[in-house]
Amino acid sequence: MTTLKKSYHIKSRDFIRAGEASIQIQTLLKSLNFNPKLIRRVAICGYEGEMNVVMHGGDGSLSFAINADEMIMEISDDGPGIPDIEKAMQSGFSTASDEHREMGFGAGMGLPNMKKNADDIIVESEKGQGTRVRMVFFIDKGGGVR
């Protein structure tokens, strides 16, 4: 079975380029004629994940593997880590700084939004040890095609 893999580097605090990887993935999935709803869910998860890495310091990477059945996306970084993952998964809880809020972020929607949009999500993190988020998206039997 063919598996396409790609990886993108995420630079910490680079707000100008933040989100570029997710947009590239969105374009790629569009060229495959995938269901637009699926594409949107994937793009949201990618975007939120990318923003989290950019905001909280530490460089990171976004990589994905896609085959006919599913798409797996992994976003990992060597940032400060998440001390209490359960709390972070609650809608509304935010660790965004004032600077971030000025830029329109930090509504506390990051992880909960990712959880809502991915078919499955695993978050591994420890304070001071960086973070790894792994998400799975199932592609419909019709190959995701509209």
Partner: protein, 560 residues
């Protein structure tokens, strides 16, 4: 230079002026332009009429497909549909004088857009008001006024078509009104009529395009503002300097009544400035528009109600067919706003009545738009995407466009889709002309000899078995092979995908030997047969085969 068919309706490439810089190719937002033979440029994909190619060509080789201005009104009744951008081209001149100038040029009627802009304002406010309750159309709503944006959405962001406000745009309202009210009057008296669109951009060029007119008896012509500017400027000078009021007959109210609102429309932000909602945005410029559309597609900006997009920076007064610098024009507009003020003249109740009757519904449904402007390219499969990634690794990755495609990824896609070959890349071709300098022993051995002496299996390219073998080469890193393999070599590798054939052709190899019992892909064999490059198979390892070849004299230099 060969004659290439132009699929585009909107622009034309002049081969005699083209200097092969490929700037237009890189600027095209739908990557629709390609160049072959390093000088022949043509549109092969979907052109959306944005005019970027016209804008960026340093040699002036690209222009809008427009009509001649000579014979306005000679043997027909000429009606001018005037874009408010025209008023911004003559700082200090009143709009009514500009319209009069047009009439002196030969236009019987000059239709100003103000009336229709106001109708659009009311209809839009009404729609958004109702949508706040029903939420039927998804937020943010997108302005339909710039036709390039609508086509761009149909081509690259079709999932966003439901966001486009389904209200008839002012220019379309204007054309419809003229066709309903003015033209029948002339047809009754047997006069021929021609509609002239005076535009700041090429979006309504070549009316002979498949996507226009249902009424073939109305001749429609598109003129760029820069086409009529010299003549018009001359007439306006006369009007400014004359004391007497020239005889000038107008019939309809909308021939003379430009308002401040109308002139504001020429600027980016002009559409939403006077409308009745807070959460709106105005974006101008092609790159900016695309970036925002990508973000909307991702689900951002849901809290914005209405976004005005213009693909020309600063709005329509930045259009590629304007005559005056956009900042000068902008300042002229700002002065006009101060002069005229921004009041409306039409009443809401009247417009509402027509709205209820569905008078302002768009005529083009999303399905129709996709049919007209949607991408005609087949969707890619995972396998093709994988191939594209692999092909990209062979390329330099500097997006130089020397191959005639806008960037390396698109070139790789063209190769996978079969419309380009690896050899079209100038960098790769250049590499392959570097010859190796070793003194080699003269050996007269053909591929057929190798097959027999080593007991190899011929799996493709048997018409090339008489090719001379001059050297041997081992390796699996394609980029290295492409840079170093000597001409006339037999190449030992375990790689089996079709790029090996392209590489073999590039380096003018005698044959490929796939070692270790590996099997090349079906496509590889087909390609090899096409190119006449023999592919041989052996179960032995590269070490073994290379060793035996070497002992037969292949690849040995004079010193050995």
């Amino acid at each position: 230079m060969t004659d290439i068919q132009q699929i585009a309706c909107f622009v034309h490439f002049d081969k005699s002026l083209c200097n092969g810089h490929a700037t237009c190719i890189r600027a095209c937002p739908t990557k629709a332009i390609r160049m072959i033979d390093k000088r022949t440029v043509s549109v092969v994909g979907q052109c959306i009429g944005c005019g970027e190619c016209i804008r960026v060509c340093g040699a002036g080789a690209v222009r809008a497909t427009a009509a001649e201005t000579g014979s306005v009104g000679r043997d027909h009744v000429a009606i001018a549909l005037v874009s408010p951008v025209l008023y911004a081209q003559f700082p200090g001149v009143m709009p009514k004088d500009i319209l009069m100038g047009l009439r002196q040029m030969g236009f019987r009627h000059t239709i100003d857009m103000s009336y229709f802009l106001e109708i659009f304002h009311y209809a839009t406010e009404e729609f958004i008001d109702r949508n706040r309750e029903s939420n039927k159309a998804p937020w943010p709503l997108i302005s339909p006024v710039c036709p390039v944006v609508v086509r761009l959405i149909a081509n690259q962001f079709p999932s966003l078509l439901p966001h486009v406000l389904p209200v008839l745009r002012p220019a379309a309202l204007m054309a419809r009104e003229v066709k309903r009210r003015i033209i029948p009057y002339y047809h009754d008296s047997g006069d021929a009529v021609a509609l002239y669109y005076i535009n700041p951009c090429p979006t309504k060029m070549n009316p002979n395009c498949r996507n226009s007119q249902k009424q073939p008896d109305i001749h429609e012509v598109a003129l760029g503002i820069n086409d009529i500017f010299p003549q018009l400027a001359g007439h306006i000078e006369q009007i400014k300097n004359s004391d007497a009021i020239p005889f000038d007959q107008t019939r309809y109210e909308y021939e003379t009544c430009a308002t401040g609102n109308a002139s504001m429309w020429a600027m980016s932000g002009g559409e939403i400035a006077e409308m009745d909602f807070d959460r709106s945005l105005a974006v101008s410029g092609l790159e900016e528009t695309i970036t925002y559309l990508q973000k909307i597609e991702m689900g951002l900006f849901k809290d914005i109600e209405y976004i005005e997009f213009r693909t020309c920076r600063e709005g329509c007064l930045g259009g590629v067919l304007t005559a005056v610098d956009k900042y000068l024009a902008k300042s002229a507009v700002q002065k006009m706003i101060k002069l005229f003020g921004l009041g409306r003249r039409l009443t809401r109740e009247n417009i509402l009545r027509m709205y209820e009757k569905g008078q302002f519904q768009t005529e083009k449904s999303p399905a129709k738009l996709i049919d007209l402007y949607g991408t005609k390219k087949a969707a890619l499969s995972l396998e093709s995407l994988q191939e594209i990634e692999e092909t990209m690794e062979l390329l330099r990755g500097t997006d130089c466009a020397a191959c005639g495609a806008p960037d390396c990824r698109t070139f790789a896609e063209d190769i996978v889709r079969g419309t380009a070959r690896l050899q079209d890349c100038l960098w790769i071709s250049a590499h392959s002309t570097i010859k190796s300098k070793r003194n080699k022993r003269e050996i007269t051995m053909t591929v057929k000899d190798l097959v027999e002496r080593l007991g190899l299996q011929v799996v493709a390219g048997d018409k090339g078995l008489d090719r001379r073998v001059e050297d041997g080469y081992c390796g699996d890193l394609l980029s290295e092979i492409m840079g170093n393999a000597p001409a006339g070599c037999v190449w030992l590798t375990i790689q089996g995908h079709q790029n090996i054939v392209a590489v073999a052709v590039l380096r003018d190899m005698a044959a490929i030997i796939v070692t270790g019992g590996h099997t090349p892909d079906e496509e590889t064999l087909q390609k090899a047969n096409q190119e006449g490059i023999p592919i041989l198979r052996g179960s032995e390892s590269a070490f073994q085969l290379a060793g035996r070849l070497f002992s037969m004299g292949v690849g040995k230099s004079l010193e050995e």
